[in-house]
């Protein structure tokens, strides 16, 4: 039995400890917002936070996540249960197309803004280049991050995501 803390809830799961976290999140916990794109840490579709740091869950054995705080796209709401400023910015900039990569994009973007509230273009390049978007939403993702950064700044108190 493996104990996992996902989005603030404790789950006991029965899996081989070498199973990638991605499949445990999707299949055992039923949280399907986290996606499978490549399985080899190339695309970022499976990005979740481990103690606030973005990781590729497709190559992270579940045992490495035991006793850590795991956050998925389903868990990024702010404390007052509203959309996270990054999610709101994604709507305002009309970022997603097919949407398949966007959970991963949003997880990477939130982690970036948590550690760097006013990123430059180069910072955005560095933080986001591990996330492929086959629909080519990069220009809008860039705008979305900048918009979210302004919104977070304007809200005064850098609203943190649950594990941010």
């Amino acid at each position: 039995m493996i104990k996992l803390n996902v989005n603030g809830k404790i789950h006991d799961v029965e899996v081989d400890p070498s199973t990638p976290l991605l499949w445990v999140i999707r299949e055992q916990l039923g949280l399907t917002g986290t996606k499978f794109g490549c399985g080899i840490s190339q695309c970022g579709a499976c990005t979740v936070h481990l103690n606030g740091t973005p990781i590729r869950s497709c190559v992270t054995p579940v045992q490495a996540a035991v006793d850590q705080l795991i956050t998925t796209i389903e868990g990024v709401k702010t404390y007052d249960d509203e959309l996270h400023p990054v999610q709101q910015a994604w709507i305002d900039e009309q970022v997603p197309q097919c949407g398949y990569c966007q959970s991963g994009q949003i997880m990477s973007a939130i982690a970036l803004l948590d550690s760097n509230p006013s990123p430059t273009d180069v910072d955005i390049d560095n933080a986001m280049s591990g996330n492929i978007c086959r629909c080519g939403t990069y220009p809008r993702i860039r705008r979305g991050i900048k918009r979210a950064a302004l919104a977070i700044e304007a809200s005064g108190e850098n609203e943190e995501s649950i594990n941010g």
Binding site: D16, W23, G33, I73, Y100, R134, C135, G136, Y138
Partner: protein, 743 residues
């Protein structure tokens, strides 16, 4: 149903719940003669479009197209709401399921059954005819480019306008006033003189009893209040919080997981499977030999994948094991030469006398181009969930052709189509790939062998190696110029012609043209890839015309401009792109600028690319895009599609190369089939021209011109002419600016 006598056939009905529906079925506009014949023979509707009005005045648009990111649900709903004067903020949207009953336009029959209170669309796809139709129709199914011009213009708008007309007629009767005194907005009918206002729902039942006008008056663009505005896309909120359901996310109770490995060399079968090789592995349920592939079913995907990787499988040999990419190109060249030597050239387009004109030309320019196979690499790998129980087969997947897929499953399992229930999900990218049902048939066959639902997930490697690829091709040009540098002869030979017909034709005023091709089949399966033949021919023709312009000593933009006098609409788009890009402004050192223009799917797109070449690596920095699709229904959606088409095309031009090694695809995942990423993504500005001409598509036309604009920019920066894609194979280090053309 009798023979169709009208373009649109409309009727209405009342459901038991008090919900009223209005439907319109529309025959397709015809793009290919083959298709017209196929369709004209039967009475099936291609599009059924439906409007529901509930007692609480909620209007629901039932849309016959799959949402794969192109925003089609929003645009089609806007087109309906515009003509219906519906309240956009309270409009709901549902996607029609794949159900033959509804494709038969059986209003009232089956429509009220159970919870399935929505109809479907699409061609009669039984008997496997669908593949032929689909291929002939080139993504007519849900090709992002056809939904708006076809379904939207002929279906949604007609349905909206006809429904509005009967609602007003019913209101006029009920209030006993002339219909001309009534107006409508936000799903309300208004009689100004008596200051009465009432919701549509109040008249819906009476309206349903009236006969719908077959040709209702449609609004002119100056009457639009919704179309042409930037409403928010309706699918986006679910795509920012993980709740949007893709095919991969289906979870019927008790589901297990499967993954497959097909023969690496296309077209061969499984020879033997040694199940003992994975016997000791945990969670394994079953190994299934599917003939041309082997599947492992397990409790989880990871277990299935681990086992499949270990499973000892032998495939038969069919002689293609020795085929290499270089031989394929060699075969193309040989077949092209042979066609000419044996008088076997297949004429594609003949204008004037190109050979004669060439003989009299002052200057002759020749070049040969080639492009590789390309994978679609949709972000969501192919997957499908299937459950065979109680004589039915339930399917959950993302498809561009729901009814066609259901028909294929019915064929594969020898079931009646009505027993195949297909639930279409959001598509994690389509680009043409999800018009091919191979993955769905596999899932159904696997499910038929077990007693529980199975989710089949292809690994990325399987997805990359078993695509229906954009074809590889070679194109040879000879142009003749007169003493003034004007092109007087254009001769072009290429390999294999698919669709659309006009893809290889240059838009320019050239008096003598001879375009022909040779056929050269290979064992590599091909399929529609975003913009189909346009994706290669725009690269060929728009690169070559650039060479011609430079050889004539002229500016590539001006040269094109001068040859477009006969095509003022195209000329205008070209001019706008050039102007907005500041074409004449000098660029920094190591930068270059290139232009290209191409019309596809009724839409004209011109693009100017600025590149910077740093240590031999090309960075596209800025793209200026001008587009004329007649009228942009949803301008921000149009821009998003241009951005998407540009990045998809840049990715292909810079990096993408599917090559054949030992008969199989050499590439396997994103490390060797690379994608453009955030750090290489250019700034993109899109400028829209609403010319008022016939409505064109948006999903594909952004792609064709970008590859030639890019290589033209690279030439401008480096004086190196790239004639073979992808760009990454060429040495572009700037040590020797005078170096020869590459490729």
């Amino acid at each position: 149903m009798g023979k169709w006598t009208r373009r649109a056939f409309i009727s209405a009905g009342v459901l038991t719940s008090g919900v009223v529906i209005f439907g319109v079925a529309v025959r397709p506009g015809n793009r290919a003669d083959k298709v017209r014949d196929l369709i004209a023979k039967d009475d099936e509707s291609v599009f059924n479009v439906w409007v529901k009005i509930a007692p609480d005045n909620t209007v629901t648009a039932i849309l016959p197209h799959a949402e794969m990111g192109q925003g089609v649900h929003t645009t089609l709903a806007m087109m309906l709401a515009e003509e219906l004067d519906a309240d956009w903020d309270r409009l709901e949207v549902a996607e029609a399921p794949a159900d033959k009953e509804y494709a038969n336009y059986a209003l009232g029959k089956g429509f009220v059954l159970g919870d399935a209170d929505v109809p479907a669309f699409l061609i009669d796809t039984i008997d496997g005819v669908f593949l032929t139709i689909m291929q002939a129709m080139d993504m007519q199914i849900t090709g992002g480019s056809s939904s708006v011009p076809m379904t939207g213009q002929q279906g949604m708008r007609v349905a909206g306008a006809a429904t509005r007309a009967v609602l007003l007629e019913a209101a006029a009767k009920s209030w006993n006033v002339p219909v001309a005194e009534l107006s409508a907005s936000k799903s309300q009918v208004r009689h100004e003189k008596s200051a009465r206002t009432a919701p549509y729902s109040e008249f819906a039942q009476q309206a349903a009893a009236l006969s719908l006008p077959p040709k209702p008056r449609l609004k002119t663009p100056d009457e639009f209040t919704l179309l042409g505005t930037d409403v928010q896309r309706i699918d986006i909120p679910a795509k920012v919080n993980g709740s949007a359901m893709f095919g991969l996310d289906a979870t019927p109770p008790g589901m297990k997981y499967a993954t497959v490995k097909a023969s690496p060399v296309f077209g061969t079968n499984v020879q033997s499977v040694n199940e003992a090789s994975i016997q000791a592995m945990p969670g394994i349920r079953k190994v299934i030999n599917l003939g041309d592939a082997v599947a492992v079913v397990a409790d989880g995907y990871w277990q299935a994948k681990q086992a499949l990787d270990r499973l000892e499988v032998k495939f038969e040999e069919n002689g293609n094991e020795t085929v290499e990419q270089s031989e394929i190109y060699h075969q193309f060249a040989t077949d092209m030469d042979a066609a000419t030597a044996n008088n076997d050239e297949i004429a594609d387009l003949e204008i004037g006398d190109a050979r004669n004109a060439l003989a009299g030309a002052d200057t002759v320019i020749e070049a040969e181009y080639r492009v590789p196979y390309l994978a679609h690499a949709a972000m969501e790998p192919m997957n499908c969930t299937a459950w065979v129980h109680d004589d039915i087969c339930e399917i959950w997947t993302g498809t561009q052709n729901p009814l066609g897929f259901a028909a294929e499953v019915a064929n594969a399992l020898e079931m009646d189509l009505e027993n195949v229930h297909l639930n279409n999900a959001y598509l994690g990218g389509g680009f043409g790939r999800r018009a091919f049902p191979d993955y769905t048939i596999q899932a159904a066959k696997i499910a038929a062998e077990v007693a529980y639902p199975v989710k089949l997930i292809w690994s990325r490697e399987e997805d990359m190696r078993h695509d229906h690829y954009r074809q590889a091709s070679v194109s040879r040009f000879t142009a003749g110029l007169d003493g003034d540098g004007k092109t007087t002869a254009w001769i072009n030979q290429y390999v294999d012609k698919y669709d659309p017909v006009e893809a290889p034709y240059p838009p320019y005023d050239i008096d003598n043209q001879y375009i022909h091709y040779a056929e050269s089949g290979t064992h590599v399966p091909w399929g529609f890839w975003r913009s189909v033949d346009h994706s290669l021919h725009a690269f060929f023709t728009e690169s070559f015309i650039d060479e011609v312009a430079i050889a004539a000593g002229e500016d590539p933009y001006q040269y094109r401009h001068n040859m477009l006098a006969g095509q003022p609409r195209i000329q205008k788009v070209l001019d706008l792109a050039a102007e907005k890009s500041n074409w004449d402004q000098p660029l920094p050192e190591n930068w270059g600028r290139g232009i290209a223009v191409h019309k596809s799917f009724g839409t004209i797109v011109a693009q100017v690319v600025e590149v910077e070449v740093v240590a031999g690596k090309v960075f596209p920095r800025r793209v200026t895009c001008a587009v004329d699709a007649g009228f942009a229904m949803h301008p921000d959606g149009m821009k998003a599609q241009m951005e998407s088409g540009i990045i998809y095309g840049l990715t292909a031009a810079l990096y993408s190369d599917i090559s054949i090694r030992h008969g199989a695809v050499a590439q396997s995942n994103f490390h060797d089939y690379e994608m453009l990423r955030m750090n290489e993504s250019p700034e993109i500005e899109t400028y829209i021209i609403n010319s008022g001409e016939k409505i064109g598509g948006a999903g594909e036309p952004g792609t064709p011109a970008i590859a030639p604009a890019l290589v033209n920019a690279i030439y401008n920066a480096t004086r190196k002419r790239i004639r073979e894609l992808p760009v990454k194979m060429h040495d572009l280090t700037l040590d020797d600016l005078e170096s020869k053309d590459v490729a």
